[in-house]
């Protein structure tokens, strides 16, 4: 029996780059000069203690802060290959959200059927052809490893699924529109360990199709799941690098203190 040959991964291609990003909630400076790459088809994890700004940074990528008054971006996040600055006031947040989707901490399926949940992103774009939607919904549910469990009950209410299934449904919803980047904001913190395991496995699979940026409170999860890790503290990016380096040979003492549990 020939053993499986793992081809070496191609060198990482830049998908997004934040340049000197400051972010203000009113007068409070929540992010200080964050400059960080996000590589395509890789999983990048943001770790750090509570209040360090990792969720704030994540939510800049899909302009979530625009929903609330008192926000201010200073600096750029460039999306490649076109190089557009998605934080620019001229850029419509809706266009950004159509290229970058998000999975939230608490699974938030809409009080609609499973089918309508996954199809929502497509409906918003004006797709109404039944067969097209059915194909995309099936592909998304397969991509989220949920198709087998729900294919006979697509008309059932999504909220009747278990917590882990709901989160996979939200991932399917995020994948249905073929996004370029999928943002995960602590996606497993509300789930039991078995559901957590299946979500982590899923993230490892979908990275071949999309770029993943994930915020996690759980260091071990970052070590298991990500290719690159960024450690943040109080709005600063302390260290960024390959996950192996960050966890085995961190360059900064603050990083080492956090990783070893002496801090945080």
């Amino acid at each position: 029996m020939p053993s499986t040959i793992t081809l070496p991964e191609p060198p990482p291609v830049l998908k997004a780059q934040s340049n000197n990003l400051d972010f203000y909630y009113g007068s409070f400076k929540a992010l200080k000069g964050i400059s960080m790459p996000v590589y395509a088809n890789r999983v990048t994890a943001l770790i750090g203690p509570s209040g360090c700004g990792k969720s704030t940074f994540l939510r800049c990528f899909n302009r979530m802060h625009d929903l609330y008054p008192g926000h201010r971006y200073d600096g750029t996040i460039s999306l490649f290959p076109d190089g557009v600055n998605i934080l620019d006031k001229q850029v419509d947040p809706i266009e950004v959200r159509m290229r970058i989707s998000m999975v939230f901490q608490k699974p938030n399926p809409f009080p609609k059927s499973i089918f309508e949940n996954v199809a929502y992103g497509l409906r918003v774009r004006g797709e109404s052809s039944r067969s097209f939607l059915e194909d995309k919904v099936e592909a998304a549910l397969r991509g989220a490893a949920l198709w087998g469990e729900v294919k006979d009950r697509l008309r059932d209410l999504a909220v009747n699924l278990s917590g882990g299934q709901q989160q996979r449904l939200c991932i399917a919803r995020a994948l249905a529109t073929d996004p370029e980047i999928v943002l995960f904001d602590e996606p497993t913190s509300a789930l039991d360990p078995i559901a957590t395991g299946s979500i982590e496995e899923l993230i490892g699979e979908i990275k071949h199709k999309v770029t993943v940026l994930i915020v996690t409170h759980n260091m071990q999860q970052a070590a298991r799941v990500s290719d690159f890790t960024a450690y943040m503290y109080l709005g600063d990016l302390i260290e960024y690098g390959e996950t192996k380096e960050i966890f085995m040979k961190p360059k900064r003492k603050e990083t080492e203190d956090y990783i070893t549990g002496r801090f945080g």
């Binding site: 899909n62 979530m64 929903l67 008054p69 809706i94 959200r97 159509m98 989707s101 998000m102 939230f104 608490k106 938030n108 399926p109 809409f110 009080p111 929502y120 992103g121 409906r123 918003v124 774009r125 209410l157 909220v159 939200c170 919803r173 995020a174 529109t177």
Partner: protein, 307 residues
Amino acid sequence: MNSHDSLAVKAIIRRHKRWDVIFALLGLMALAVGILTLAALFVDMAVAGIPRLNADFFTSFPSRRSAQAGILSAWVGSILVMLVTAVVAVPVGIAGAVYLEEYARRNVLTSIIEINITNLAGVPSIIYGLLALGLFVYTFGLGQSILTAGLTLALLILPIVITTTRESLRAIPQYIREGAYACGASRWQVVRQHLLPYSTPGILTGVIIGLSRAIGETAPIITIGALTFIAFLPPMPFSGDPPAGLFEWLSSPFTVMPIQIFNWTSRPDPAFHQNAAAASFILVFMTLAMNGLAIWLRYRLRKNIKW
């Protein structure tokens, strides 16, 4: 802890449990007073009025002869006025609430508007009647008509519709909104495809409660000039030649149930008092039925909305 301490603790617990029971009984008595009073009133009216109820009562016009007097013009008038009230109050109320809750910025102006809306709910209904007399009847020249009555009552129940709609919108968790926006929806898409459908049970309840209040309002209707002896029916809505004929009914003179009841109560003949009791029974029954419908609709629609 020796046995003496545990006896003291047991005594204290017994005393607290006694107060539990006393409070529960007091609460029950207060509830009973309210419900029994209402029930007694209703039963009294039913006993006096039900013997008078027959098919003729519903299909006869008022008459000087008590045995032939009926509520036909009154209940038709009430329904037509409610129709106008609903058609005006519902879209305006929902739109106002959606604007205040989803679009308006939180500043001094919005706060003033909010306070005003709450105050409007407490304005005596006769004031609405006077406003309507000056504005609708004379300034706009709409006359003493069903249209005027409907507009007046729509203003009256507008605060109820706006407030219940806002409460229903607020009950939708923020993470549902964020999920919809994250899919690339515009604000209007979020409102139309999520917020309004999910708040429909609450809105419907508010509308029906508002209408069940409006159906019993007498003062503003008298002020704008509803007549008390109507021996004809307004033209059927949307009958007649288009385009003007479709809306003839709006400019018709009319009467409503509370006014008919008031008219009969003020006559010396006790037979008319029985008529009034019968009509009151119908009116209360209509109100209770509308409230019951609101509760049932809310139950049915709420079943599918969970988060």
